[in-house]
């Protein structure tokens, strides 16, 4: 969900135009505009888009003969 506004430990977050109050206790550095993974009303992780690139590296690490099975 995307954070729209922050009020201390609480925030309003949005997903597909649907808003809900969430808690930020576990992601104290979250800023307005950040995307967070929300579970049972609590943001449990900041979603960083750059890290998705790590997957690419992981593939490389696995060596030459990586196969795609599905």
């Amino acid at each position: 969900m995307k954070i729209l506004e922050i009020n201390g430990k609480k925030a309003i977050a949005e997903f597909l135009n649907v808003q809900r109050e969430i808690r930020l206790d576990a992601v104290p550095h979250a800023k307005v505009g950040d995307h967070v993974m929300v579970h049972a009303g609590l943001a449990i992780s900041l979603i960083s888009s750059e890290e998705a690139l790590d997957i690419q590296n992981m593939w490389k690490e696995l060596g030459e003969d990586v196969e795609l099975f599905i």
């Binding site: 993974m37 449990i44 099975f69 599905i70």
Partner: protein
């Protein structure tokens, strides 16, 4: 280099119930090569909750006239003492919440009711439950008590992998639990058992990537723990979330359906918060319960049998008339097999 076939397939376990469900729902399950067999694991919190714990909740609510607040899937699990749904039909209030913090709000708005929040789930829900405890203390809510029955994944995986007859080649590790506990904690456990594992997200693409990585590890006999969900999962998880958990909860032995008693595999409130502990406030005698007759949920969460191997599956036991929790919970393997099973990829 490798010789797997549909007769001696690669057996990979999706530990988490949400994966079970999503693999069916997105149809990805049916696109797997024939030499891959998916096995559902113990990662559905409702399914592994022991009957005696749920029976206790029902007894407490009856005896002390409590309003029960909990997550949706708990509602229909049946015990010899009834279910939360039948409790509600007897006139007790049973409220479903989206977040544990909503239980605090409810208690505040209903000062004349004694409320009990039944807190179940793995590490994923624990920080949120911790915030609810914190909030209840800060707002000085006097009428909310916590029945804490959380389960911890790493000790359960260890126990699972230690039961000799498991025959699993790799683990699809849950993305959300890992967001809290991180990647590193799995390493000693999985490596000790020579078991590869990949932390995987829940969209079709995430699952495709995770399973591809895992199959590569399996066919190359590489026991590694990879994180295929790095945008959400960090090496050591979420330190603030772990802090919240540690501040309010402490490990305790827990009964798991299927796995039995595992030391330090559950969590309860720390003694400082005894005054909020429902089990302290509303003592009941330990209920005697027997697992539903004929139900093989215990083996299903271990992955030793497929739901269809249960003689009750689909005949006596269906989602609207569920015998065991694996059929009740929307993440339960039996429910997923019943709802989506049997259809081929076209």
């Amino acid at each position: 280099m490798w010789s797997f076939s549909s007769d001696s397939p690669v057996r990979i376990m999706e530990v988490c119930g949400t994966h079970t469900h999503e693999l069916f729902r997105t149809g990805l399950r049916f696109s797997l090569p024939p030499w891959v067999k998916l096995i559902s694991g113990p990662g559905c919190p409702v399914c592994v909750t022991d009957d005696r714990d749920l029976a206790k909740v029902i007894m407490m609510a009856r005896e002390y006239e409590l309003t029960v607040l909990t997550f949706g899937d708990m509602l229909k699990v049946n015990t010899e003492f009834g279910s939360l749904a039948s409790l509600r039909s007897e006139g007790r209030k049973v409220e479903i919440v989206y977040s544990p913090v909503d239980a605090v709000t409810y208690a505040k708005q209903h000062p004349d009711e004694r409320c009990m929040f039944v807190s179940v789930g793995f590490e994923t829900t624990m920080p949120s439950a911790a915030v609810a405890v914190k909030e209840a203390i800060e707002l000085n809510i006097g009428n909310l008590f916590f029945f804490v029955n959380h389960k911890l994944l790493p000790p359960a995986l260890d126990a699972l992998l230690s039961t000799g007859d498991m025959d699993i080649d790799g683990l699809i590790l849950p993305g959300h639990v890992s967001a809290i506990i991180g990647r590193r904690v799995y390493e000693p456990i999985l490596l000790r058992h020579g078991m590869p594992g990949v932390i995987t997200g829940f969209t079709k693409d995430h699952m495709r990537t995770g399973i591809n990585l895992l199959l590569n590890l399996v066919v190359h006999h590489e026991a590694k723990v990879l994180n295929a969900y790095p945008e959400v999962v960090q090496e050591d998880g979420n330190p603030q979330a772990k802090e919240l958990i540690e501040k309010y909860f402490e490990p305790t032995g827990a009964h798991w359906r299927g796995l039995g008693f595992i030391p330090n595999s559950g969590a309860k409130l720390r003694p400082e918060y005894n005054h909020l502990d429902a089990e302290v406030a509303f003592p009941v005698s330990e209920p005697m319960v027997h697992p539903p007759h004929g139900c093989r949920c215990g083996d299903v969460v271990l992955g030793t049998v497929d739901p269809v191997d249960c003689p009750l599956f689909g005949t006596v036991c269906t989602p609207q008339n569920a015998v065991g929790p694996c059929m009740v919970s929307s993440e339960g393997a039996c429910a997923a097999w019943y709802k989506y099973g049997g259809l081929r990829h076209v």
